[in-house]
């Protein structure tokens, strides 16, 4: 309630607020700090608790890298993430344009049917989707991992909201000039929607990178796993005993989204919180 701040707060109140702020930051960051310091602690010392690593040891990383076909897993994760996100956002852009600019009988009913798909949780679709993909012969393939995640509701919704806020005159002018809808989409609407497109692309990338249950179910060889799923394999086959190496392996998974978040936090936060304020 910054509105009330206009009256000057007592210094004790302010000090308490700063303490609270510090506690929030510490709770959020200490587990991540612990992850990275553990990953550079020598295995002999990891079992004595220390806030600051005394000796730095970077061997955990090569060790974690050698514990599985990590290069292959990285390729799998990157491929599935990038191709999946590009396909999903393409599908979302097309349908959001249709909902924003094209006429169709009972368009709102179609739209509500779209939104309804958000109510179907992952565990519900698991077995039937596995059976569908198995029928197509795509179990343990990239196509099998990617395809069920290409349909899009959330990104489509955000894009449509954004497109409806664009000035109608610009689109009308393009129509008068005889531009086709594909042309308008490509050279008018998309450039004007760039911030929102960036937002939904980043969110899609992060979600697909982190996806766990579906890649777990639809793949069965180490060669086809993605990085997060491999963590489970690692735990089940070797057990989490060599914590230094396990934390290094975890760092491989955590660092890419953190880097993306560091550079694009404004877009990510805006996108993920949109539903609340503009729903």
């Amino acid at each position: 309630m910054s509105m009330i701040v206009s009256e000057r707060q007592h210094w004790v109140v302010r000090a308490a607020l700063y303490v609270a702020l510090l506690i929030v930051a510490l709770i959020a960051l200490v587990p991540l700090y612990w992850l990275f310091t553990s990953s550079i602690t020598p295995s002999g010392e990891i079992f004595q608790f220390q806030w600051f690593p005394v000796h730095l040891e970077f061997n955990n990383y090569p060790e974690a890298w050698a514990a599985g076909p990590i290069a292959r897993l990285y390729i799998n994760s990157v491929l599935v993430t990038v191709v999946g996100a590009v396909l999903q956002i393409s599908v979302a852009v097309l349908s959001s344009y249709a909902f924003a600019y094209l006429r169709f009988p009972a368009k709102n009913v179609v739209f509500m049917a779209f939104l309804g798909a958000m109510m179907v949780p992952g565990a519900v679709v698991l077995l039937p989707n596995y059976l569908t993909i198995a029928t197509m012969g795509w179990v343990n393939t990239y196509a099998g991992i990617i395809l069920p995640g290409v349909g899009s509701v959330f990104a489509m919704f955000l894009l449509r909201q954004h497109m409806m806020s664009l000035p109608a005159e610009v689109i009308e002018a393009a129509k008068v000039d005889g531009a086709s809808h594909l042309r308008i989409l490509w050279s008018v609407v998309l450039p004007m929607s760039r911030p929102m497109v960036v937002t939904v692309v980043i969110i899609a990338l992060v979600e697909k990178w982190n996806d766990f249950i579906w890649p777990l179910v639809v793949t069965f060889t180490d060669q086809m796993r993605t990085l997060p799923v491999w963590l489970l394999t690692l735990k089940n086959t070797e057990g989490f005993t060599n914590w230094g190496a396990v934390m290094a392996a975890t760092a491989f998974i955590v660092v890419p989204p953190l880097v993306v978040f560091f550079f694009a936090q404004r877009q990510i936060i805006a996108g993920l919180t949109q539903g609340a304020t503009k729903g």
Binding site: M1, S2, I4, V5, L17, Y18, L21, A25, I27, A28, V30, P31, W34, L35, A92, L94, F99, L102, F104, P105, K107, A117, M118, M119, V120, P121, G122, A123, V124, V125, L126, L127, Y130, L131, T132, V150, G151, V206, W209, N210, F212, V217, P228, V229, L231, L232, K235, F240, W243, V246, M247, A249, T250, V254, P257, L258, Q265, I269, L272, A276
Partner: protein
């Protein structure tokens, strides 16, 4: 003759008129109908284009979101081991079986407890943190970013990190708890502590997100209402319950729904940290469905579990929508 002449003239007039009509009005009508035709054709073209644009999405959602619900409904009425060529029809036997099984009832309560605890705590803590971040404090943007960061991390990675933090002999939490004079529980290997432990982990992932959503809501608040209320002499407690909280109800609704759906889906953290155990101390509905489908190879129970989950979610979000509506009316 005159008459006829007149008549003739009239006829002529009519004739000329009709030719005049023929000459100008007919093409006009043609233009009108062809204009209508054109518009109809344009409209049809637009309909077709709409259909073409939404088709990929419609097909994908139909196949991978809606069809699974229907197919689960069918599977739930069969007894099938995922291998045999036939799926014997058993009616509602799977449901009857599940609801008379105390273990499944326990799964339901556990899911509601897990989800409810996370919803309530993350909304209370999230709103408190949002109000803190809404103060003009140095470094608040940095804290906002830090608090949000856990939300974008892989659940599998989060589970792994927290497994180490909870480690009863070497973990970080032991180092924090023991100096206060408490003994660290065995967390994930103790059936009394495993679920509370998971709730803590999930809260760590979720609270920052909730706080940032609430913060966006707070920053959209109309200031004049506060000014008016303050002039009326309202204290900050009254301001909060009479203005802030009611005005935030759409945000609360959004946060409650996303958190309920998110916690019902919680899988990756459970898979890494507990495998649904010890015993079935952390077997929630989503873990139950996974287990029945891919470990017990029991499509009937998996399907029935999925349907129960779907109906439960519809019911909960529907109830939330009703409560929300009343709030808005009240306002």
């Amino acid at each position: 003759m005159r008459v006829s002449g007149y008549a003739q003239g009239e006829v002529d007039l009519a004739a000329t008129e009709s030719t005049a009509v023929e000459g100008t009005a007919r093409p006009a009508r043609v233009a009108e109908t062809s204009g209508a035709n054109l518009r109809a054709r344009q409209r049809r073209r637009e309909y077709a284009l709409f259909a073409a644009f939404v088709a990929p999405n419609v097909v994908l959602l139909a196949v991978f979101s809606y069809w699974p619900v229907i197919y689960n409904g069918y599977l739930s009425l069969t007894s099938w081991d995922l291998l045999s060529p036939t799926k014997p029809f058993v009616g509602f036997a799977n449901y009857a079986d599940m609801f008379s099984d105390p273990d499944f009832i326990a799964v339901l309560w556990r899911t509601l407890w897990f989800s409810g605890a996370i919803v309530v705590v993350s909304m209370a803590a999230g709103l408190a943190i949002a109000m803190l971040l809404n103060q003009r404090l140095f470094g608040r943007n940095l804290v906002r970013t830090s608090a949000f960061a856990p939300h974008i991390l892989s659940g599998a990675a989060i589970g792994t990190i927290w497994l180490f933090i909870f480690d009863p002999s070497y973990g970080l939490l032991k180092a924090v708890i023991e100096p206060i004079g408490l003994t660290s529980p065995a967390w994930m290997t103790d059936s009394a502590w495993a679920l509370p432990g998971l709730i803590i982990v999930y809260l760590w992932k979720n609270i920052g997100f909730v706080a940032v959503v609430y913060l966006a809501g707070l920053q959209n608040m109309p200031r004049d209402l506060y000014e008016a209320a303050k002039i009326d002499g309202a204290g900050s407690w009254v301001l909060f319950w009479r203005i802030t909280f009611p005005l935030l109800s759409p945000v609360t609704f959004f946060v409650a729904i996303t958190t309920v759906i998110g916690t019902f889906q919680a899988f990756d953290i459970i898979a890494i940290m507990t495998n649904g155990g010890p015993g079935d101390a952390t077997t929630t509905l989503s873990w139950y469905v996974y287990q029945q489908a891919f470990q017990a190879l029991d499509a009937g129970h998996a399907g029935a579990g999925a349907i129960v989950m779907f109906v439960l979610l519809l019911f909960i979000t529907g109830a939330q929508a009703r409560i929300m509506e009343r709030r808005v009316h009240y306002r």
